[in-house]
């Protein structure tokens, strides 16, 4: 069972809500964190915890784009394609990634390391083009920077180019308005 070793976390999640069903998204997110995607087994287990039927859990899960219902690569590369990022070069970036990784959108590389997706706005419009890989944001991307990120992830599983707490612009002097 997926949640066996997380019994404390599950109990903690359930204790936050007066109605059990509210624990749905936290549990789905936990399942995905554990297995990389939301498996059929996880859906059945969550249904059991929440006193729902598996179709009720599945129905909810299909609404949310972050929940993967099929296995994906170790690193999920999600590039923002919405207008604000597209204005500053999201499309060439996606094209570059397709060529570099040798996969189409929604596909996973042969070594199961990278899955490439083009997604809608990730709330980082002032620092585009940008992408999210697993939990981390990478912003103000250039080809060289993306190349470095992929190399680091492939070699060490981590990359120091990810964004820290957001403050843009870094220095913002008060301007006297005329």
């Amino acid at each position: 069972m997926i949640f066996d070793k997380h019994q404390d976390t599950v109990n903690d999640i359930l204790s936050r809500y007066p109605v059990r069903r509210s624990a749905m998204l936290p549990l789905l997110n936990l399942a995905q964190k554990e297995e990389g995607y939301v498996s059929q087994a996880a859906i059945r287990e969550i249904a059991g915890i929440l006193d729902l039927t598996p179709p009720q859990v599945f129905e909810t899960a299909t609404f949310y784009t972050m929940l993967n219902l099929k296995p994906i690569g170790k690193f999920h590369v999600q590039v923002c394609r919405s207008l604000m990022c597209a204005l500053v070069g999201a499309d060439p970036l996606i094209e570059w990634l397709r060529k570099h990784l040798g996969v189409g959108l929604g596909q996973t590389t042969g070594d199961k390391l990278f899955t490439l997706s083009a997604v809608e706005c990730l709330g980082s419009c002032g620092t585009g083009p940008m992408m999210q890989i697993n939990d981390d944001y990478y912003e103000r991307l250039t080809e060289a920077k993306v190349g470095q990120i992929l190399k680091d992830l492939r070699e060490t599983g981590d990359c120091s180019l990810k964004s820290g707490p957001f403050l843009v612009p870094e220095r913002n002097e008060g301007v006297v308005l005329s």
Binding site: R16, P18, V19, R21, S22, A23, M24, L25, P26, L28, N29, L50, E59, T60, F63, Y64, T65, M66, L67, R81, S82, L83, M84, A86, L87, V88, E120, C121, L122, G123, S124, C125, G126, T127, G128, Q132, D135, D136, Y137, S163, G164, P165, F166, L167, V168, P169, R171, N172, G174, V175, V176, L177, S178
Partner: protein, 436 residues
Amino acid sequence: MKTFEKILLTNMERPGYTGSLADYEGAGGYKALKAVLGKVPPNDLIEMVKKSGLRGRGGAGFPTGVKWGFIPKDHPGPRYLCCNADESEPGTFKDRQLMERDPHQVLEGIAISCYAIGAQTAYIYIRGEFRMAAKILERAIADAYRAGHLGSDIYGSGITVHVTVHAGAGAYICGEETALLESLEGKRGKPRTKPPFPATHGLYQKPTVVNNVETLANVPHIVNRGAEWFASIGVPPKSTGTRVFCLSGHVKRPGNYELPVNATFRDLIFELGGGMRSDKPLKAFIPGGASAPFLTPDHVDVQMDFESVAMAGSMSGSGGITVMEEGTSMVWAALRLMEFFYHESCGKCTPCREGSSWIVQILQRILNKQGRPEDLRTLTEICENIGGRTVCAFGDAEIAPVQSTLKYWRNEYEVLIEEAEALKGSRKEIPVLSLA
């Protein structure tokens, strides 16, 4: 010449300020909460926020104090406060900065607001992608509990406030307040039919207030410095205070800029944003997130308060300003936004669900030089059949890019369709089976 003072970004822009509890307390944090809990009657707080003129910073601009006042006073059961941290409007990225750089400012606002409306529980509904902001908030909440700013019997006042971070899982519509409540209840995030409104039938059908992150972050400052002070900034009495405007697109210095609401788009784009990033002139800008109709260079001297932007034919919305330079195809821009709306339509209302898909198909064929002369009339008609015919404001939002680009740059559509007509004979097309 006029100078202005920042309210929300003052602390975080100070060098060395990390947003930790010690930093926040050092800057006078939680003073407002201490001053009101058990000392100022909740009703007086609601009146204070009403008098300040504070309006929702999430997009709709509803007066915050009035919203709080709708909570029934005599309701016996629990009430809830939901902090809307879904920040999913393309062009907007201010809440992320407010949460990641000064989380306690938001938490203090939540605690004071909970006390004002008589809620013991607050949920921060944060978009699932904001993992860092969620982690920072969770750590800040733990610190605030340890220091006694949150929890049971805060400062011995007998008041209880519990705060929980609830992460979404990727759905634009969950920023709509009733969709947010549905999602928080563990369902598909589909907006509810109103009335009843969340003030009486919200989370778990209990009285609920949903406020944006930036709205709540303003509350401690209003308590500290008074409603009159806040109401004197901006365009009293209707649009008051400052806003954190998010600047993106073809400008030199994109980012978050806090300005009094009576500043103009010129101030933001050309003074603070440093102007256009290349030598190409300004062609168009979106004044309030993807849901706001496009405006033209003729509108740069419009003030950014809710009323002025509405007078100019658009909306101030969530405060996300996206700038486009000369040479940007407006048909392409409208299509890119429409693809977003098509992807994010929840599917509840037929006009929005089907209409968004039709608009995307028509815009795609116009852009690919396969448009037909009747397409512009069809587009206009589809838009007219979506606007005002859906349960939530999404329907009105999704037609904004199409209607406004058709209004100001109709010739770009016409040129593409003329080119399609000219290409007609030369293109090999799949024959269509005719019944004749």
